[in-house]
């Protein structure tokens, strides 16, 4: 079972996130960057499948140089190797072009049976890259999995959304995305952290991956941000201390606002 895990480095949600004034892209320098939490779970799921069925886990990441930290984290958890698509021309790439580029990179990994991604990232929240990667590859999409099972040459998941829980099945190769509820990711051990330093990370430029620079970046984007501005933070209103009348006070406030 050869598994590719798609991982993304994102600004830490605890730090302030901004857009650059110059071109309205995410200001990646202004915030601490971390391996997206959901991708730790994607790596964990891949490792569990490898432990049960054998094979190899390859981490694939598209992002700037410093995304190496996120890749090392995934390797220290136990992934075997990594491919990092890194090129200055990728700056500003939109979601469909990201999916096309990731599909190209997946194509450089030999004999892939399964791609595992997070269901949505905490920065873009497109929640659609895994589905779009499946579209480009022409592979079945089994997304928003709270449970994944492999049986011979087929994969079965439980997809949990607002609409309820669906059981979804397909033949391999396939693209799976996992939700927060899938597992608890392991902590990298000291041994794992040391071993990760020696694991192979192939860095690809656009040319290496066979991607034309005109297909990506701000120039290649099929949508453009034309304006952006921070919203003035919401102001605090009234704060009172409950002295036995707190509930009544709220009701009076709501009535005054015509909310009752």
């Amino acid at each position: 079972m050869n598994i590719v895990v798609l991982v993304k480095q994102v600004p830490d949600t605890y730090s302030e996130r901004k857009l650059t004034d110059a071109d309205h892209t995410l200001d990646r320098e202004s915030a601490d960057a971390v391996l997206d939490e959901i991708n730790e779970r994607a790596v964990e799921e891949a490792l569990q499948i490898k432990e049960a069925h054998g094979g190899e886990v390859t981490v694939v990441c598209m992002g700037p140089d410093r995304a190496t930290d996120a890749i090392r984290k995934a390797l220290s958890m136990g992934a075997d190797k990594a491919v990092h698509l890194s090129d200055a021309a990728l700056h500003g790439t939109d979601a469909p072009a990201t999916a096309r580029a990731l599909a190209k990179v997946i194509g450089t990994v030999a004999g892939v049976d399964l791609v595992i991604a997070g269901n949505e990232s905490t920065d873009g929240r497109a929640g659609a890259v895994p589905a779009m990667v499946a579209e480009v590859l022409g592979w079945p999409q089994l997304t928003y999995a709270r449970k994944v099972g492999i049986d011979g040459s087929s994969v079965r998941i439980e997809r949990e959304t607002d609409a309820g829980v669906l059981t979804v099945e397909a033949e391999l190769p396939a693209v799976v995305s996992v939700t927060e509820k899938i597992n608890e990711p392991r902590y990298p051990s000291f041994k794992g952290i040391m071993a990760a330093k020696k694991k192979p990370v192939t860095v690809l430029s656009l040319a290496d991956a066979g991607i034309d620079a005109s297909e990506v970046g701000l120039a290649g984007a099929a949508s453009q941000v034309v304006a952006s501005a921070p919203k003035p933070p919401k102001q605090a209103g009234v704060k009172v201390t409950d002295e036995g009348e707190g509930g009544v006070r709220i009701a009076e406030f709501l009535a005054g606002e015509k909310l009752l």
Binding site: A163, A221, A229, K231, I250
Partner: protein
């Protein structure tokens, strides 16, 4: 006038409210055509409602297979229509399914994608609210047919008469991942979280699953949906689908009441665009008070039941 395709969100033979919002927005860009993908006989039940919100046409794409495959039948049908009628735009609800459908459609048709917009102007510029409402941005599609997902509850649905002329379209033979089992979510008596005009949420401070009855009682007195913080969900107090925040639902109701929630940045990301925010927390330093229009420093087990009684009294 160019057509604007609107993918219809429907469940149990009823049109979901977000569809009416999409039809309302679609009228700014052209003539709305509703696209129904479902089992044979589905569109018949939906046509009148779609017409009441201005659908000039209803494309009925019906087959047994349409509900047996994940997402791909909708993509196939929309892609076929995009090619045939060259619409001014395709509008899809920003639900989980909708975002995946829209993403695949954009890839297949070589088009630009605008995700989770809260409004669209007549020129097709979509407004976004980023990082949980900390930023506003406007984006435009510059290539192909704009494919836009619109957040539920972001625009007010307005009725308008439409002819709702039904046209059958074929559902291409499906491929992809097959749906082999289905446990629909229990509808319950409360409004849906993302559609509700009032949301009452509980956090870790609620303390237990049993204690969530305090949150539910207040919600029911207001006809509200119930939400929860991730800490409350992770502690097993309330089911996951009710989580509000960055990795849960984004809600933007008229009124949001937070009980025993500290107001961590990731929770605020899912609720800070609410019109009015009320918070009850026993810690006067809790960050939720920074964004609350009305905050009460106190014990939620004293304040919330009193508020419930007071509301019941005023309404009764």
């Amino acid at each position: 006038m160019a057509e604007v395709l609107v993918l219809v969100d429907h469940v149990d033979g009823e049109v979901k409210k977000v569809t009416f919002e999409l039809l309302t927005v679609a009228r700014r860009l052209g003539e709305p055509s509703a696209v129904v993908v479902g089992e044979p006989g589905t569109s018949e039940k939906l046509t009148a409602a779609l017409g009441a919100y201005g659908a000039a046409k209803v494309y009925a794409a019906e087959s047994a297979q349409a509900v047996q495959f994940l997402v791909t039948p909708q993509v196939d049908v929309l892609a076929g229509l995009v090619q045939r009628v060259s619409p001014a735009a395709v509008l899809v609800p920003a639900s989980i399914d909708g975002k995946e459908i829209a993403g695949r459609l954009a890839v297949r048709t070589g088009s630009g994608l605008l995700s989770e917009v809260v409004d669209i102007d007549g020129e097709g510029g979509g407004s976004h609210s980023l990082f949980g409402g900390a930023y506003d941005a406007t984006a435009k599609v510059v290539r192909g047919t704009p494919v836009v997902t619109v957040l539920p509850g972001a625009v007010e649905a307005e009725q308008a008469a439409g002819a709702a002329a039904v046209e059958q379209v074929e559902v291409p033979a499906a491929t992809g991942a097959r749906i082999t089992g289905r446990q629909p979510a229990e509808a319950g008596d409360r409004p849906e979280l993302t559609e509700a005009s009032v949301v009452v949420s509980g956090g870790r401070g609620v303390g237990s699953a049993e204690n969530f009855a305090v949150v539910e009682k207040l919600a029911d007195s207001l006809g509200a949906a119930v939400g929860a913080s991730r800490a409350a969900v992770d502690s097993g107090f309330y089911p996951h689908q009710f989580q509000v925040g960055q990795t849960g639902k984004t809600v933007s109701p008229q009124l949001y009441i937070a009980l025993g929630i500290s107001g961590a940045i990731q929770h605020r990301a899912g609720m800070q665009t609410s019109k009015t925010i009320v918070a009850v927390n026993k810690d006067p330093e809790a960050p939720i008070f920074e964004i609350a229009d009305y905050g009460v420093v106190g014990d939620l087990f004293k304040v919330a039941p009193q508020l419930t009684d007071e509301i019941t009294k005023r309404k009764g």
